[in-house]
């Protein structure tokens, strides 16, 4: 055991001598959390909507009034008057305005005649977020215009009442789970994978191999050290991230216990996975080349930035065996839902089993000779 702890001691001394590693492992996730959290978190405001009014009648005026209400209250868009449809379409195309509403001639007459008139909406559907927001706003506005002036005696309209279990979750809070997992992944990738291969290349492992240390002691020593680095990174980003996102969950003792267990399980899983991938690698370029690919392959299907249920089947299959998926789910359960051990139990189980299984496969693959 003394030999195993000597490896851990060596790794940790190096780690604390080079705080850059800690900083680097947290920079990407923190930047992602702050930038993406704010970039995708807000609603569309002050879009420019062109209005081409060929009618100018009383019913068209109602539409203008509704637009003015939107501009004054919810501020999704403000209107820009246009004289002809072609110009409005061209301006949507070249980005001068974000959308255009076309009120056709005879619109008011047809409304009053009950002739089901249409209003045209021109949107730039290459920007799905903007076009989606404008469409939703216009749908709501048209629905309001369609309300009968005199309610019928028997109302047959079915309405949906939405019950939200949790307070409104800003995107930054939603993203935090993935960011913590990402910080731990980066810590394992750099602190475990890259440094491990660099040490091999520099001959440091050759020094170990001539000592009486056993294969298991060496594997456990390297992995315990790697897991500790990931834990430190995970704890740091959990504290910083929850404070940045305005989540007070870290002040609840039970949540702290759950977070601690989850972080340890994730560390074991990520470190085991990394060690298995690197156990036979000799070239220091390999982990650097794998870094981005693995990041994309593991992070994005995990549900960190969008739900797993929206993925195609082949990506869902990756997500099912991706430890990131369980890490993200576990963090969301604790940070956003107060889900308790029932919610994170399967995540803890999978992550621990995944890590242990990876190490069990990697250990015999680890070469005790050069």
């Amino acid at each position: 055991m003394q030999r195993m702890w000597a490896i851990v001691e060596r790794e940790m001394r190096k780690f604390f001598r080079s705080p850059a590693l800690m900083m680097v492992s947290m920079t990407l996730p923190l930047v992602q959390l702050i930038i993406l959290g704010h970039a995708f978190g807000g609603k569309i405001r002050n879009a420019r909507m062109g209005v081409v009014d060929y009618d100018r009648g009383s019913q068209a005026l109602k539409i203008h009034e509704a637009f003015n209400a939107v501009a004054a209250n919810i501020r999704t868009f403000t209107t820009v008057p246009y004289q002809n449809e072609q110009q409005a379409r061209e301006d949507v195309r070249n980005g001068k305005i974000d959308g255009a509403v076309i009120i056709p001639a005879q619109y008011s007459r047809r409304v009053l005649a009950g002739d089901s008139p249409s209003i045209g909406l021109v949107v730039d559907n290459t920007d799905q977020v903007m076009s989606g927001a404008l469409e939703a706003e216009m749908q709501s506005l048209v629905q309001a215009l369609n309300e009968p002036i005199i309610q019928p005696y028997v109302v047959q309209q079915i309405t949906l009442k939405i019950v939200e279990l949790y307070p409104y979750v800003e995107y930054m809070k939603y993203l935090l789970s993935g960011s913590i997992a990402l910080a731990m992944y980066v810590a394992v990738m750099i602190g475990g994978g890259m440094l491990y291969i660099d040490d091999k290349a520099r001959g440091v492992h050759e020094g170990y191999l001539v000592t009486p240390i056993t294969r298991l002691e060496l594997v456990l020593g390297l992995n315990i050290a790697g897991a500790i680095k990931a834990i430190l990174s995970g704890v740091s980003l959990t504290v910083i991230g929850t404070l940045l996102s305005g989540l007070g969950v870290i002040f609840h003792p039970m949540a702290l216990v759950q977070l601690s267990l989850l972080i340890v399980a994730i560390s074991i899983a990520f470190n085991g996975m990394m060690f298995l991938m690197m156990v036979r690698v000799e070239d220091p370029l390999v982990p650097r080349a794998m870094f981005g690919v693995l990041n994309t392959l593991l992070f994005f299907p995990s549900g960190a930035i969008s739900p797993v249920s929206g993925l195609p089947p082949w990506l869902k299959a990756i997500a099912a065996i991706d430890p990131f998926t369980y890490a993200v789910h576990g963090f969301k359960s604790i940070l956003l839902k107060d889900g308790g051990f029932t919610a994170i139990g399967p995540d803890l189980g999978f992550l621990t089993l995944f890590g242990v299984a990876s190490l069990l496969i990697a250990t015999p693959l680890f070469k005790r000779t050069l």
Partner: protein, 336 residues
């Protein structure tokens, strides 16, 4: 059999193959207790492969290496406890201090806590790094780092010490300092040392016996003195004429005591002779008789360079520039 009669190292017809290529081709030798034994050869000769087999770093294909009575293939753990190894590359942790580097290795060798501190103190004193014990290794010079590595290899008081090209990359002053330190360590601790090198002067200065390895084979093995004596001719005369002539080699061969003539470059010859003074006198007379002037004339005793040329037919320096044969598959970051 008593331990006194067992050689510290016994290598018996050892072979290492990589696929179809035989990097080490049936080498046999013994190293006695307390001896400094040198493996001399150019890069790619198989020295490092040989030392790696003896230190359990790579498996033996065939044959045996017995270290202090333990077979490296069957009892590698016991071998590792008895040996200290200094690899070719500088592998100390540059982020750790000198003392931390030694302490980690003492723990890897399970040196008891009670003696660990004393061992480290003694070794730092021996390698003259006491005042640098708390310095980060990255702040040390190459020579100091090599001394640290030597101390690291001795932190568990090994019986046998393997050093793979211990002075490669060091400046001449540091090299001499390392030689002196190794000699002192041998005397103080009664260590058996096996050193690989491609420096003739290093082998000559340090080693009790030298094995010349070339293309994976042992081509000569003896004391430096006996190896030099085995080369025909006791002196080497290096001469450069002002003008080149195809007749010079034949004229030189006819001089008294000359055993061989080797062309070095244009009008420059290396002459092995059993009588340096007589050959030199006749050489000067011969030049005068042909109205030739000498650009340079140098007389010296036979060196290990001559021994190497005699046994391998090649200059060691040439081999260093243009290595032939198998070179251990280069691992990234390893020194050539």
């Amino acid at each position: 059999m008593s331990t006194q009669t067992i050689p510290a190292i016994s290598v018996q017809n050892i072979i290492k193959r990589y696929g179809d290529f035989e990097a080490v081709r049936g080498i046999t030798f013994d190293v006695a207790d307390g001896e400094i034994f040198g493996l001399l050869g150019p890069n790619g000769a198989g020295k490092s492969t040989l030392i790696r087999m003896m230190t359990t770093l790579i498996p033996v294909t065939a044959g045996k290496a017995i270290i202090a009575g333990h077979d490296v293939s069957r009892d590698s753990d016991a071998v590792r406890r008895l040996i200290g190894v200094i690899p070719q590359a500088l592998t100390s942790d540059i982020d750790l201090t000198v003392e931390e580097n030694l302490s980690i290795y003492a723990k890897l060798y399970e040196v008891p806590k009670a003696t660990r501190r004393r061992n480290i103190d003694d070794l730092l004193e021996a390698v003259d790094l006491t005042k640098w014990r708390n310095a980060q290794t990255k702040t040390l010079s190459g020579g100091m780092r090599r001394r640290l590595e030597i101390a690291r290899g001795l932190v568990h008081n090994p019986r046998i010490f393997f050093l793979d090209e211990p002075t490669t990359g060091l400046d001449p002053v540091s090299r001499v300092a390392v030689w002196e330190m190794l000699n002192a360590l041998k005397n103080q601790r009664g260590l058996t040392m096996l050193i690989t090198t491609h420096y003739m002067d290093e082998a000559d200065r340090l080693c009790d016996r030298i094995a010349i390895v070339d293309h994976g084979k042992l081509v000569a093995l003896d004391t430096p003195m006996a190896l030099k004596a085995s080369v025909p001719g006791n002196n080497v005369v290096e001469v450069q004429f002002t003008h080149e002539s195809p007749a010079w080699p034949q004229r030189l061969e006819r001089l008294a005591g000359v055993t061989s003539v080797e062309s070095q470059s244009a009008a420059m010859y290396r002459v092995l002779t059993s009588n340096g003074s007589l050959t030199t006198t006749q050489l000067v007379e011969m030049a005068v008789s042909h109205n030739e002037t000498l650009k340079s004339l140098n007389v010296q005793n036979t060196t290990l360079d001559d021994v190497f040329v005699h046994y391998t037919g090649r200059q060691l320096r040439d081999e260093q520039i243009k290595p032939v044969g198998f070179i251990m598959p280069p691992r990234p970051g390893m020194q050539p």
